[in-house]
Each structure stands twice: as C-alpha cells, then as structure tokens.
Symmetry: C2
Subunit: 323 residues, 2 copies
Amino acid sequence: MISENKLDAAVRELFDGIAFTAEPAGLYDPLRYMISIGGKRIRPRLCLLAYSLFRDTIGEDVAEPARALEVFHSFTLMHDDIMDRSPLRRGKPTVWKKWNPDTAILSGDVMLIDAYRRIARCGNAAVISLFTETAAQVCEGQQLDMEFESHDDVSMEEYEQMIGLKTAVLLACSARIGAMLSGASEPVCEALYNYGYELGMAFQIADDYLDAFGDEAVFGKPIGGDIINCKSSWLNVRASELAADKPGFRRALSAPATTEEEKGAKITFVKNIYTELGVDKEATGAIEAYSARAMDAVAGIGLSSVRIEALNRFVANLTGRVK
Amino acid sequence: MISENKLDAAVRELFDGIAFTAEPAGLYDPLRYMISIGGKRIRPRLCLLAYSLFRDTIGEDVAEPARALEVFHSFTLMHDDIMDRSPLRRGKPTVWKKWNPDTAILSGDVMLIDAYRRIARCGNAAVISLFTETAAQVCEGQQLDMEFESHDDVSMEEYEQMIGLKTAVLLACSARIGAMLSGASEPVCEALYNYGYELGMAFQIADDYLDAFGDEAVFGKPIGGDIINCKSSWLNVRASELAADKPGFRRALSAPATTEEEKGAKITFVKNIYTELGVDKEATGAIEAYSARAMDAVAGIGLSSVRIEALNRFVANLTGRVK
C-alpha cells in the first residue's frame, strides 16, 4: 500500500507531464488551460487510491489511465459550459468565453480523443470498454440534466438517476479501473465500482447542499448559483416534492433575479423554504446514507483495516465540508 | 477477393444493423438521423475494399471498425455543421438546425464515443491507436480550416496540408485498417495508407472543382456554395496565387451576396476568373496527378491485376464525375 502523502505527490506529478503543445496551438491551448485551472483531481486520485490498495508503487500502467479520467472530465466541463452558458469555472473564464464556442466545441473533441489515447495505452480491453460505457452514460446524464431544465416536476427518482449518470458512474469507473489495473479480482473490482458510485452520489448531493448552505471561501464559488440559475438540485427537487404550495414554490424558484439585491433576496427566500421544509437536514442525512453505502460496498472483500480507513478518509474528504 | 456487387451489398448491410435506440431518445435520435441521411459510405467501403483484397468473406472483425469509420465521419459533420453554420446537409436540415446547437454538441460527443465502442471491438491495439491519431488529425484540419477563414493569404501548401488533415488521413486510415484486419503485411498496410491518402487529396480537390463546375443534379448540392460562403477551396487558393490583381480578386471573393441575383452574379464572376486564369484545368490536372500517385502507392506490393483494377475503379468512382 502507498501512503496518503505519496499519493498526493503522485497525483501532482501526473499533471506536470501534460503539456498539450501539439499544433495548431489554437486547438491545443484550451486543453492546457482547462488542465491548468483544474481542481482537486478527484477522479485520478480515486483511481490511484484503488490501485494503491493492492500495489506498493505507482507505475506508468496506471498513470496514463488516471490522466485519461481527468482529461475526460475536463472535456465534459468544456462542452457542458457551452451548453449551460457558464461564464466562469473555478473563478476563471470558461473556454467558450475566453475563446469562443466553436473553439470550445473542437478543442473539447480533441480532448476526448486525447483521453482515449491515454486510456488505450494500458492495452486492457476491459478497461477501454468500461471507459466507453461510462463516457456514454455521462453524456446521457448531461442530456437528462438539460431535459430537466424544461420540466418543472422532476421526481427525486429521476434526479438521482441523472446525477448517477452525470457524476457517480465516472467516480465508479475511476475506482474500478485502478483496481483492475492493480490486478485485483473481479469481485473486488466490482466492490470498488460500487464504492465509487455511492461515493459519487454522496459527493454530488454534498455539492448541491454546499451550493446553498456552504461557506463561499471554502466552497470555491459563489453561494446560491443553482438557485439563481434555476438549476435542478437535490434540495429543490426534494423541496418541490414536500411543498404544500408546489406551484408557488416552483414560481419562486424560476423567478428571474438580475440585480445583486434581487439575487440576494431570492437566495434567502428559497433557503428559508428549504430550512422550513427540513430539506437541508434531509440532504445531510442522504449524504451520510450514501457515504455509509460506499463503505458497505467494500466491507466484505477482505481489505485490511488500514485500507478500509484510507477509503473512509477519501469519502470524508469529498463530503466532509458539509458537517 | 470479393466482387464489387458483394461489396456493395456488404456496405448496405453494415448500416441496416445500426439502430441507435438507446435512451434518452433526445440524445440518440440525432445519431440515427445522421446515419439515415448518409451518402456514399466512402470510408467503410474503402475499408472493406482493402480488406477484400486479401480475404474472401467479410467478417464481423472488420464490420464494426468499418461502421466506426462512418460513425466517426458523421460525428465530425455534426460538429462541423455547427461551426460552419450550415443549415443543410445532403439537402436535409443539419442537426443543430433541426434540433438545436446544444443537442448537436452532445449527440456529436456520444457519436464519437460510439465510434470508439465499435473500433475497440476489433481488439487490435494498433488499429485503435491509428484511429486515435487520425481522429486528432481530423480535428487539427478543421481547426486550420476555421483559422483560414480569417486569413486572406492562404498558400497552396497550407491549403493542401489542411485538406490532408481534414479529409485525406481518414481515407488513408480507412484503407489501412481494412488491410490490417485482413492480416496483410506491414508494407502492404503502409502502401494502402498512402493509396488512401493520395485518393483523399484527389477526392477533396474534385469536390472543390465540382462545387464550382459540377452538374447540380449529379453533385447533389447547389453549385457555387464555396463561392457564396467565402470558403477556401483549391480553386480560390490557386486563383489567389495567380491573380495579377490579388486584392481585387480577394475583394470579389469576400463580397457579400444575399439575393439570388447577387449570388448568381458572384458565382459567374468568380468562375470567369477561374477559367481566365486556367485554375479549372489546373485542378483537373491536380486530381489526375493525385489519382496517379494513389495507384503508384500500390504498384510495388505484388497485387494481381484484378486487385489493382478494383483499386483503380474506386479512384475513378470518387473522382470520375470531374471528367
């Protein structure tokens, strides 16, 4: 097994080696930009963590697939930002804003191809196949997310299916690929897939919760973005289910807010409904439940307590800011 | 070897089996639409032709990669049509026009992933790697094409590099994959790559020529599209090199034309310059030269005359309408 400090260093090193200096520069510069503004490298870290449970050193066999997971994730962000008209990503201009939508489309395409280049280098057909099925599911999740914008009656079942596809399957895939490349047995690989999936659900609900109730400095983006942009989230889907005056709640949620004053008022108003209905507490309960299910998934596969503890810390790190 | 009639039937059958009925329908419907309006299936046909030179039956080992080449090509069209603001493709509304640009982005993404699913099924790492390098080159070609729109001094060398990337490498890749999967030797595979590349150059220049001098009923789209839309083409790049009054020619080429009368006048005016400068004859000469180079590429690898004849007929079919 590999220590957490060594894992941190290995994740950092992964991206020191990504240059994207091919020509034409106008095509590849946005790839370098996306990776350079990139955040916590959750997916490659999870891949290396799963691998490290069964190995003592990180080899090139897992380094390129781990990079592929981050490159793929960045590709989805580049295209999602066009579709969502998002001007900022991690406080920086999005690619379609900094360059233009055409560049964001084409550079995103070549970024997806670059992800395939890296994943294919492992030469493991089952890994490539899992990556493909996951990539298609992520697109399906984004499609549902877009379709939900014009529905005002998204059920919690539909919402959780959507975030499962858009977010959780890629974490599941990341953990499973790490385990597969370490040579772990099929049941262990499957357990790590399930761990990643439940973790991904907890992570997305935590993200939705922090968007309304987080600390802006810690969360890293303005609070209330989902409320202002009328995006569906775990909180408003659940509130919509619980509200006595459903049409009234949905009207409040879809009301436009342009000035800073209107935005502030809308955020306060909607958050008050959340706390009155208790959906904030329900959300933290759901995060805990999914976190527990993640740990249940890896409970019966004979991992030592130090390994279970490492997996538990990863869950806590991804969801911990909620508490 | 397989007869041309059997090859025709095999190409048709390839796409009878493509349904794209996965969910959500809003994501997959545009894929089915693109394949249904699809034209001559040049890339899968070339792949099967190369394969058929060395085999007597078409197996599933080559069918899925052959489909992948068409699916990939359709993905590039779906995204290119957004970037080029093209309202029509083969006389039908483009995906971004029929649905919307967001749908065209996301359905294009999942179409690229579908192409990878199919190419990966062959389980041949060298084939997957060639596909990836080619896919990246096609994006590089599209990037150059977009960059050239704001340059008014594209040289013939730059233009031919661009069409080499945007068009010729995919035909080269198609021929090479067919040969690789048939079990042909490395020099034979390389010769078929070069055949496909030169053929691709001839094909693109023929397309540029027919855009100005073709018969609308045979060409399948309105004549003069490149002239009206100020797209760079072999003809206008060469004319710009030859024109005594370069600024005057470039002004004429970039002059807006909105009414049918203005469009007709612009097309006639620019075509007159082409014939005065003799670039129409130069273009047919270039098509013949590239066609000859395609046949030269496969001259020294010991193919029987019936096989050489089949390759020659393919070149003639792709460029023959010029004569």
